[in-house]
Amino acid sequence: MTTRSPAADAAKREKAKRAPAKWLLAPAVIFLLVWMIVPLGMTLYYSFRNYNLMMPTMTGWAGITNYSILFTDPTFWSALKVTLLIVLCSLIITVGFGLAFALLFHRNFFGRGVARTLAVAPFFVMPVVTGLIWKNMLFHPAFGLLAWLFRLFGATPIDWLAHFPLTSIIIMISWEWTPFAMLVLLTGLQSLPEDQLEAVRLDGANKWHEFRHIVVPHLGQVLYVVVMLESIFFLTSFAEIYTTTSGGPGTATTNLPYYIFQGTFAQYDIGTSSAAAIGAVILANIFAIFLIRFVAGNLNAGENR
């Protein structure tokens, strides 16, 4: 017989109780593990190799050459900046508008169902099509609708993609993703316990207080999901850039994914691209940790048990 402290015993039992949970978790974890570890491992490996698709003869270990090439490339750093700009601006816009729209569509008004349906539609549109619509039909300085509007009011049409390339990209991304934020937040609003709202109203809260002190904390968890997911997509946004500006003019809209893309498909330099991919992963993880530490700390309070 071993003598263990009862508390340790309880902890063990607690663990035993969670045992089936492990089995529930296992399939997803294993699947992802295989899916991510293998390519990631290969990427890591290539990042230390000389590997250019167009130059099959150039092989062998590269040491940290790929990384040094990467870090001395000013475009890499500007891509980093562009990436962060896209993420931050789009996040602020989509979450802000998403929240506002969610609150708006949470209210009852005439034809709300239809209006909501129309408002969420952009999210269902393929990014490629989004690019086509905006580039050709809206932003186009000659044939675009915006240009027409400008002319209508006597202004000179703006060549959006040339003169405000990053803004244009952010506008497109935000157009696409605001409905997503709205939809998720709306779902979150549905589960807000009515009695808390009532309590806060009796406590003399106006709409803003209600929103600030009850709705936002309650939405905390959901908001967190939105921020997290959107960060993912914004960090890796590609199709919008690819179909409209192709990273330009100059490198104004070259973000990290597009940078890697160019490395892979213009230079065919898998080695350096892999190094950049590893860089992206590291950036992403910094981002994730930041989100989890800081954002979660503030927002997680809404949990409801």
């Binding site: 490198t251 490395g263 498909f265």
Partner: protein
């Protein structure tokens, strides 16, 4: 039956080929043809990944004279050694054939070929009392553009490619640089982008497109410019010779009657002032059906095929620039008043001697080395940045120069 898969670019000529493929299948019942048709960039990516990783998904590839020599050198392509006599290799336009060969062997069959030339609106010129010389200079072009620019009525002086890309704005711009006496590299592979020829060309180019060009020029590639011209919004346009047929076809073009043709403009030298480009079909080493693929390619690039297109689609639509016989064909000459101009351009474009100064590379509007695609793309973006006013000409070019230097180093140049 043997199934062969062909990766092609979705240009109109290739689409015609896809539509006519059943005729081939009928005459070759043991071969079935599948097409993977995608835009140029996508298909190039797919083909490169496939061939470089030896995945063997495709049996025939539609590639250009940029890839052919490089890929051939990498040992990725199967040479066309014993072409049947009926194919009549000697009918091929020599410059094109040369551009598709490496080490004296032909590695791809030209499907079509193009050079560049100047399109202009005869009606507008006439109204303004101007005449387009047979072989205009860039300075003349500028004067014309200035006179003809009329944004109020949605007519612009000149349309030029502004869309970044090594095959887009850089194709045109490289020919401009060449004609100003510039070159990409000196004989030691040192980038020459800060030379005065580059600066002059860039200033001229920027001047033209920003002052007399349509708005949003940085998103105009070949396609967009062609549409603009066909829509009657450009007084002039310097671009590929393939557009000639399209613009002369009233079905597509509002200006079919009024389109005029001239040689590509030059500045200080005519060398390298017009490009040479060809889409050609090649068979990758990784293919499992090389013979069937060759059979198909030989059919698709044959005289017979050209005749077939002529019959089915009309003679304006036949793939141009590959065979001398096409240009001798009376029917073609009838519908293509530009034929001799085009033939001349193609025949005089010499990739081996693209610049007034000596160069270590082949290629007029590109440099036929692996890293060029990336360099061209990046420099193209910088050029767009210059046009968009993000950077000055000097700054942009020096940035482009250092980018080029970096990439050349990365790719191991200068080679011993």
């Amino acid at each position: 039956a043997t199934q062969i898969t062909i990766a092609t670019v979705n240009n109109p000529d290739m689409q015609t080929m896809e539509k006519l493929a059943p005729a081939f299948e009928k005459s070759h019942p043991d071969i079935k043809v599948n097409f993977v048709t995608l835009p140029e960039n996508e298909v190039r990516q797919k083909m490169t990944t496939d061939i470089a990783t030896n995945a063997g998904q495709y049996d025939a590839l539609m590639i250009s004279n940029y890839e052919v020599p490089i890929w051939a050198k990498n040992g990725w392509l199967v040479p066309f050694d014993n072409v049947p006599a009926s194919y009549d290799e000697s009918d091929m336009i020599p410059t094109v054939k040369k551009a598709l060969s490496a080490n004296g062997k032909l590695y791809a069959m030209p499907f079509y070929a193009e050079s560049s030339m100047t399109y202009y609106r005869k009606d507008l010129f006439k109204k303004a009392g101007l005449t387009m010389p047979e072989h205009p200079k860039w300075s003349q072009i500028q004067q014309f553009a200035k006179k003809l620019n009329d944004p109020k009525n949605n007519t612009y002086g000149i349309c030029l490619r502004g869309l970044p890309g090594w095959g887009e704005n850089m194709a045109l711009f490289s020919t401009m640089v060449n004609s100003y006496g510039g070159r990409w590299f000196d004989m030691n592979w040192k980038p020459q982008l800060t030379s005065s020829a580059w600066k002059k060309a860039a200033t001229e180019y920027k001047n033209l497109v920003t002052k007399y060009g349509p708005p949003g020029v940085t998103s105009n590639g070949f396609t967009e410019s062609e549409t603009l011209f066909a829509n009657g919004q450009c007084a002039m346009w310097v671009d590929s010779t393939v557009a000639a047929g399209y613009l002369s076809d009233p079905a597509n073009s509002k200006v079919a009657k009024d389109v005029g043709f001239a040689q590509s403009p030059y500045a200080t030298t005519k060398k390298g002032s017009h490009w040479l480009y060809s889409w050609a079909l090649a068979v990758p080493k990784s293919s499992n059906h090389k013979e069937a693929a060759k059979t198909f390619i030989e059919w698709a690039t044959s005289k017979k095929y050209i005749d077939l297109v002529g019959q089915k689609k009309g003679w304006v639509s036949v793939p141009p620039g590959t065979r001398k016989s096409t240009y001798e064909n009376a029917e073609y000459k009838k519908v293509a008043p530009f034929a001799s101009l085009v033939l001349n351009a193609i025949q005089t474009a010499d990739p081996k001697d693209p610049s007034a100064k000596p160069v270590p590379y082949t290629g007029i509007q590109f440099v036929d080395i692996p890293p060029f695609q990336a360099i061209g793309t990046r420099v193209g973006q910088i050029l767009a940045g210059i046009v968009a006013g993000q950077t000055s000409v000097d700054q942009g070019l020096s940035q482009a120069n250092s980018v080029t230097k970096r990439m050349m180093q990365q790719a191991g140049y200068p080679k011993k």
